[in-house]
Amino acid sequence: MKGDGMEGVEPLKQMIKEGKADETGARIRELLDGGASPEALMKEAMIPAMEEVGDFFQQGKYFLPEMLMAARAMQRGMEVLKPALVSSGAAFPGKVVLGTVRGDIHDIGKNLVGMTLEGAGFEVVDLGTDVSPERFVEAVREHSPQVLGISALLTTTMLAMKDTIDILREAGLRDTVKVMVGGAAVRPEFATEIGADFYGPDSTSARDFARDVVTG
């Protein structure tokens, strides 16, 4: 790969895994200036690095802070890479709208899912926390995502997931998007009962589901 501007890709992966956000951004800038392809950087460095981070998390080698550090490095890198990706005509593999339901301000799980999806190259629209069913519907209409991710930590807020899916159906948008749900109190039986397409116990399963959706 010498001469294609990708010589610094291994150090870049290491920076992401170690959560060095500023260095990641700077390195990507250097690599782009050196002629590296934005799409190749994404596919050969950033996505594999975040895959490894996800594996470390699953294996208990990384914990939440390390995962967040890596995800921030990834985000910083994406800030630099995204304009180059867009101008090169490279397409994101898919788009996901995410949010924590009305009445719930817990966001770590949702953030982790968002970061993991971004790490897999998805375009993520994060609506934040305490999101009303109507706001979810608006966002689906506005962004046309392939996947809608709804998070709730508490038993007392889970019912808002059902409200959201119901309103999505009433708006005639249910068939346009796959709905995945997750959160500490959520269980697969609940997901089935409320008409969700998928229950994800963790961020990697959410990523895998989104991948399955976009690859058909």
Binding site: L64, M69, L154, T156, K162, A185, R187, F190
Partner: protein, 392 residues
């Protein structure tokens, strides 16, 4: 008086004392938990009644707590015959200590109280130095002390007064500072994290002493709702440890936990989630009095092997399935009793969920009428006591 036969409050307190003293017990201690406000909140929520006033109105909180206690004492007499000691507890949610740093606490009618961080996502870490060191009446803490005094006086000192929700220094810091930024700051701004941890710890030490001087009998345990005699420790919630590496926990939390332990005669640590990886770090807690955990979230065998007989081990069951799954209360109680190697230092917190736990949770989440199996049944206490005898 045989303290293991007698059902008087004195006998039950003596049983708890024997537990904390790690005496060889004829059977494990067991209790059906009834934190009055939290129990009332659950009942109100199931009936879709507004719950905000339970937290914000002193008279309502008192009246409801007394009603819960009266009902609960009847169930204790008629069914449970367990070791629980009813208490009163000023309760305004998990954010009362965070509120002392300026965090806004919101009391929605249909949710438990929310706490907004005062150091928000993206704020510079140096903002911790702008925090005014709180005093024992800062934020909601002044109201907590007022509620405690009022409950104690109005009830004529009938019940011990349990500590308000005392999230440990790290759980509190995690509420004060945007949680994701706080975690990243452990790597990028360790000095600032320690600064906040110092402030949280100092506040807790001062507040617990003030609480103690406010009431006739303080029980320094907010959760689990155990009877912990004052002087034998302080219960703290350390839920953040479940998602930290052992090295970060040892660097950023352990020193402060040890300070609390030295100050109050030990610590009883509660955490949700799977924290088995923190067992080596927890062994470094000086004066670890006990550990409370969910048997579906952290393996009982691992905790028992590490701490059984050396600290009090208090398992309970939750619907969050991580390492084990149980259908109802009898199943998990029997599981624990089979695995224990003795009774020293074992206390079981048993919610009378005798129907299918997961179906019940599903029904609650879907807003359906709850399976009657979840409610108390007359023979619940008898069946638990039979299990205790079987595995004595």
């Amino acid at each position: 008086m045989d303290i293991w036969e007698d059902q008087s409050v004195e006998a039950r307190k003596a049983r708890w004392k024997a537990l904390w003293d790690l005496e060889d017990l004829p059977r494990p201690v067991w209790f059906v938990p009834a934190s009055p406000v939290l129990a009332a909140t659950q009942m109100y929520s199931m009936q879709r009644l507004p719950i905000d006033e339970l937290f914000t109105n002193r008279e309502i909180q008192y009246e409801v707590s007394m009603t819960v206690n009266t009902a609960f004492e009847a169930m204790q007499r008629e069914s449970y015959q367990d070791d629980f000691i009813p208490h009163l507890q000023p309760q305004m949610g998990v954010g009362v200590f965070a509120s002392a740093f300026g965090c806004e606490v919101v009391f929605p009618p249909d949710q438990m109280p929310w706490t907004y961080p005062v150091i928000k996502a993206g704020d510079p870490a140096e903002k911790v130095y702008e925090l005014e060191p709180p005093i024992v009446t800062s934020g909601l803490l002044g109201d907590v002390l007022d509620y405690a005094r009022y409950f104690d006086e109005k009830s004529g000192h009938r019940y011990p007064i349990a500590m308000t929700d005392l999230q440990g220094p790290m759980d509190t810091a995690y509420l004060v500072w945007d949680s994701c930024d706080f975690m990243v700051a452990m790597y990028e701004h360790p000095k600032e994290v320690h600064h906040l941890m110092r402030l949280c710890t100092d506040l807790m030490i001062d507040f617990v002493k003030e609480f103690r001087s406010t009431v006739n009998e303080m029980v320094p345990a907010h959760f689990p709702p155990v009877y912990l005699p004052d002087g034998m420790g302080l219960a703290i919630s350390e839920d953040v440890m479940a998602v930290l590496s052992p090295s970060l926990y040892e660097e950023f939390s352990l020193p402060y936990v040890n300070e609390l332990s030295e100050e109050f005669g030990g610590v009883l640590v509660h955490s949700c989630g799977d924290f088995e990886h923190q067992i080596p770090a927890l062994r470094k807690v000086k004066g670890l009095r006990g550990i409370n955990f969910g048997v579906t979230e952290t393996r009982f065998e691992a905790i028992w092997e590490a701490f059984g007989g050396e600290a009090v081990v208090i398992p309970h069951c939750t619907a969050e399935v991580i390492v084990a799954d149980f259908k109802n209360a009898y199943e998990w109680v029997e599981y624990v009793l089979e695995k224990k190697t003795g009774n020293r230092g074992l206390a079981l917190m048993v919610v009378p969920a005798v129907g299918d736990i997961h179906k019940t949770d599903l029904d609650i989440a879907l807003g359906k009428t709850v399976d009657p199996g979840y409610a108390d049944t007359p023979d619940f206490g008898r069946r638990i006591r039979e299990l205790l005898e079987k595995y004595a």
